[in-house]
């Protein structure tokens, strides 16, 4: 008695798109970081939904959770450093580098 694969996959894809939209549309760094977490976690959901008999995807999912934590640590420390220099965390509006 298992759930049809289409349900978790649709949810994961939906979450992924929400996260992607959040990263692309928001200007505040914290919001972008939260959207990124949503993206990564939707991918984790997709990973564990495809795990049928072998534990491989679960192993990868555990690693991904750890890596996502490290990534948010690095991201937040970058944002703190940005806030100290610029006085704001609006990443797309920083314009020290121009074409």
């Amino acid at each position: 008695m298992s759930m049809p694969l289409i349900i978790p996959q649709t949810v994961a894809l939906l979450l992924f798109c929400i996260g992607l939209y959040g990263v692309m549309s928001s200007k505040v760094g914290i919001k972008m970081l939260i959207s990124l977490e949503i993206m990564i976690n939707s991918a984790v959901l997709n990973l564990i939904s495809v795990a049928r008999s072998l534990p491989d995807p679960i192993v990868l999912a555990l690693f991904v959770i750890a890596i996502a934590a490290i990534e948010s640590v690095v991201g937040f420390s970058l944002l703190v450093a940005v806030y100290r220099k610029f006085g704001k965390v609006d990443i797309p509006l920083l314009s020290e580098i121009k074409g």
Partner: protein, 477 residues
Amino acid sequence: MTFDTNQLAFYYPMLVLGAAGFIILALGIKRLRSIVYATIAMAAFVVAFILLLMEWYNILPYVASEGMVFNGFGFYFALLFLVASGFITYPALKNIAARSEIFYAMLLFVSVGMIVAAFSYNLITLFISFEAVSIGTYIIAGFHKTKRTLESATKYFFTGTVATAFIIFGLSYFYLSTGTFSLLGHIAVSSTPDMLIALAFLTIGFGFKMAIFPMHQWAIDTYDGTENSVSSFLSTGSKLVAFVIMLKVFIAGFAGLDTYVYVFFAILAVATMTYANISALSQNNLKRLLAYSSVAQAGYLILVLAVVGYAPGTQAADYAIAAGMLYSLVYIFMKGGAFLTMNIIRKDSPSVDDISGLGRKSPGLALAFSIILLSLAGIPLTGGFLAKFFLFLSLVQGGLWWLAVVAILNSAISVFYYFRIMMFMYWRDSKEDSSFDLSVSNRIPVYFSALVVVALFFTFSLFFTILPFAGGVFGGL
């Protein structure tokens, strides 16, 4: 699971690098001078390099139990990555003043990740090594903490993390379709649509790191904003890791879908080369120009995937992979050397005009930089010519005439903007006296890379030496 001591010997280089990283971090508490940390890091790179060479010659290739394959292909790229890291160890000293121990420790940890990526044939370890490289380079990129480096590092971080999410999503579809994460042996595809989704997602994910056309915008800003030595590392070491992983994933992992791989990467390669070369033509900022040229070089590199997808298992495919291997070697010195040359200009974001008069002020340096630029353009008597020659030869051999013509036309376009820099160097007078910083430590990397680039032209038998290792992309010995 067995883990015999014979197998352990293969991990010594990684252990040396990791241990050196922790030693540097521990010594950081004593606030030694930066040169001490740089020397420890360099010593670790040299020891790891020698250990890898000894293993390559003395011990038979070995398949470890957990998807690590120690074959010629892996050893070649592992040595290449160590060269890329060692290349910027001393040049980075100039701009890294405070807390340099963290910079060098990160460089060492990134190198461990790069070596694992060279040997691994399992998507789990490949992904983790890729992330080790990514996270390390986020920290390295923002290290100097000026406004410019912080902005470039945050942009790099956000695009890089989006790419990570795409890769994980792609990997889950890859598993859904094949039921395995291992790239060794025959991979049975159970559902083609899922595999195509995986192909698209993985291309986007790794394409971000390699800066191919629709995913390149971060690279221009980041290479422009970071320190010269860091941009040199980002455009060589970090990009080549993505290249190696793409070779393994798309050649071995998508072996059943070569036609799709061919169509995908032929289109991407043409778009990347053409877009980058045409944008570079109208670019006045010197570092952005080099960044666009770096994007164009990525376009040439992924031609390898197009050839292998078009004519899998033929001699042309082997030639293409070997040409990609040779190109990677030359690329480290020509692109890394070009970015390190920017150290001689005092300005933060130099325009093409700022290099004018170099030919009169320091003819030797101008000649060395010209050699590097000629190599990037693919003019004979440089290693860049040789690498492009073998790459285009494999295109013709595989029957992809139209792609060879497009690539050669693109090389012709690129000659214009490289010659424009040289024109400014030799035929314009400099505006101020103090615009150049011609200290010895800035000159040596430029001379060195120019020398290597020329030397690589005269060792064209190297291509036939590495040709037998090309088959190693499938995890064979």
